[in-house]
């Protein structure tokens, strides 16, 4: 038996008819290989389940099925198997219906000869092969269409998000400009009153005004960075100078009612290649968070420690505030996530974006004892 010989299942309950068809199959000139026989539809279905057949020759009248029931069941479950119906009576309307229901041919027993049977089998196989090719093409096409649709959807999504960001960017730039002008006037006016009043009792109020102006400006900066994060403009930065500047600003801001001890440990000549504006944004955000965290703590303490760590530089910001609950840590880098009553929820998100752009990183964890530790790492020298 050659590999491409056809496996044929003959389903007929009449032994004489069955034998006759078997004889004809031997003489039909087709590539007939194994021929198995069944007398009932149930047996036939079992055999089809166990084994694969290319062609089923199916008698219309079986003890456990009549009419087109057998055809329906077989071609429903095994659409790739060719079914040729055999019948004792020539019934035109049944024949038409059978062909409509996917039968490959309809043969009247008394009129079959080996030649006709062989031809019918060849056509049936040809038809199934053509159907198979069509089905595979259809599947390929469907997969292609699905993939393209998915690509299209994701492109559309990206476009929408880009458009949204660009709208936010325009809005942020407008808001920044419109708000910074009055903020500058307020700051100037407050300074002039302070000078005229020359009253130390008013100092606290002016500090509060300055603090709020600083906070408002930070909100504007975060919005700007969120919507228009540009590739870093690399410069060699003296980290000590930059951190001192940021810590001093934080000191002024936190010099209110509550005393906060702010300490900075940076070795001299620690430099990084980074965007100075973006680095200032990162440090002021982290320090701002730390100041907020210790604002309700007696003996609030914030320490900033920078050091060379291999080829990179690490800056660790620690505070002794209440710390971040463990279940919230996965969310803190999400945009607009905040636990504060005020704040945009953009600070840490912007920090992470900036550090990603620099090829660095940011990690938030628990400080020794209690509080929060934020570690920022930056590559010391940029790879070119």
């Amino acid at each position: 038996m050659r590999e491409d010989d056809l496996n044929i299942l003959l389903v007929d309950d009449n032994p004489a008819d069955s034998r006759l068809v078997c004889e004809m199959l031997k003489e039909c000139g087709g590539r007939v290989g194994k021929v198995e026989r069944a007398a009932r539809l149930d047996d036939a279905l079992k055999m089809l389940w166990d084994d694969s057949f290319d062609v089923v020759l199916l008698d219309v009248n079986l003890p456990d099925s009549g009419g087109l029931e057998g055809l329906e069941k077989i071609s429903g479950r095994y659409p790739e198997t060719a079914v040729i119906l055999l019948t004792g009576v020539d019934d035109e309307s049944l024949a038409v219906q059978a062909l409509r229901q996917n039968a490959c041919d309809y043969l009247v027993k008394g009129r079959i000869d080996p030649g006709l049977l062989g031809r019918s089998i060849r056509y049936a196989i040809g038809r199934k092969q053509a159907e198979d090719v069509l089905r595979r093409d259809k599947e390929t096409l469907e997969a292609l269409v699905t993939a393209r649709t998915r690509e299209l959807l994701s492109a559309q999504k990206e476009l929408e998000s880009a458009r949204r960001l660009s709208d936010i960017g325009t809005l942020a730039a407008t808001v920044a400009h419109e708000l910074r002008n009055p903020l500058a006037a307020i700051a100037m006016a407050a300074f002039n009153i302070k000078r005229k009043a020359a009253d130390p009792l008013l100092d606290r109020h002016f500090r509060n005004i300055d603090k709020k102006i600083g906070e408002s400006n930070q909100i504007i900066n975060n919005l700007l960075f969120y919507s228009r994060l540009k590739p870093p403009q690399y410069e060699l930065i003296d980290l000590k100078g930059l951190l001192e500047e940021c810590v001093n600003t934080a000191r002024t801001i936190s010099a209110g009612n509550n005393r906060v001890a702010l300490e900075l440990h940076v070795p001299k000549q620690l430099s990084v290649e980074a965007d100075p504006l973006q680095m200032r944004e990162v440090c002021s955000n982290i320090l701002g968070n730390a100041c907020d965290a210790v604002s309700a703590v007696r003996g609030g303490r914030i320490s900033v420690r920078a050091e060379q760590a291999g080829s990179s530089v690490a800056v660790r910001f620690e505070d002794n505030g209440p710390g971040i609950p463990a279940e919230l840590t996965p969310k803190i880098f999400e945009p607009f996530f905040t636990t504060k009553a005020k704040g945009t929820g953009l600070g840490l998100y912007v920090c992470k974006q900036i550090l990603d752009l620099h090829g660095g990183g940011i990690a938030v964890g628990a400080a020794k004892g209690r509080g929060t530790a934020v570690t920022v790492t930056l590559p010391g020298k940029r790879e070119r």
Partner: protein
């Protein structure tokens, strides 16, 4: 010592007013103008040593004003004061960055600002 003359041109009138007062208190002769026309008119009348310009104003941008002032008073120092994001990059793009003595971003710390002016 001769007091330096400063002209603030900013369409935020209250800001110009407060800044000029601050500068007078610091020993300068300071005026303020709330639009470019008034500013240019003042600039034509007196010799100002320092100009503080807002970048964006209704009729002229700070850039046009900068060019007009540089024509009238070539030896004066000009600072751009702006709340506009990325102002330094913009000036660089317009190739006038070299002509300004400094860019100050709003809002600013008055004592820090004063250091810049004094450094002239």
């Amino acid at each position: 010592m001769i007091k330096k003359r400063i002209l603030v041109i900013d369409d935020d009138e209250e800001f110009g007013d407060e800044l000029a007062e601050f500068l007078r208190a610091e020993g300068y002769l300071a005026d303020s103008a709330a639009d470019s026309a008034a500013g240019l008119a003042l600039a034509g009348g007196k010799d100002y040593d320092i100009f503080l310009l807002d970048y964006k104003m209704a009729e002229l941008t700070g850039l046009d004003l900068l060019r007009g002032i540089k024509k009238k008073c070539p030896s004066s120092a000009v600072f751009i004061i702006s709340g506009r994001p990325g102002i330094a990059a913009l000036l660089e793009k317009e190739t006038v960055y070299g002509e300004v003595s400094g860019v100050i971003e709003k809002p600013f710390d008055p004592p820090e600002f004063l250091k810049m002016i004094r450094a002239l």
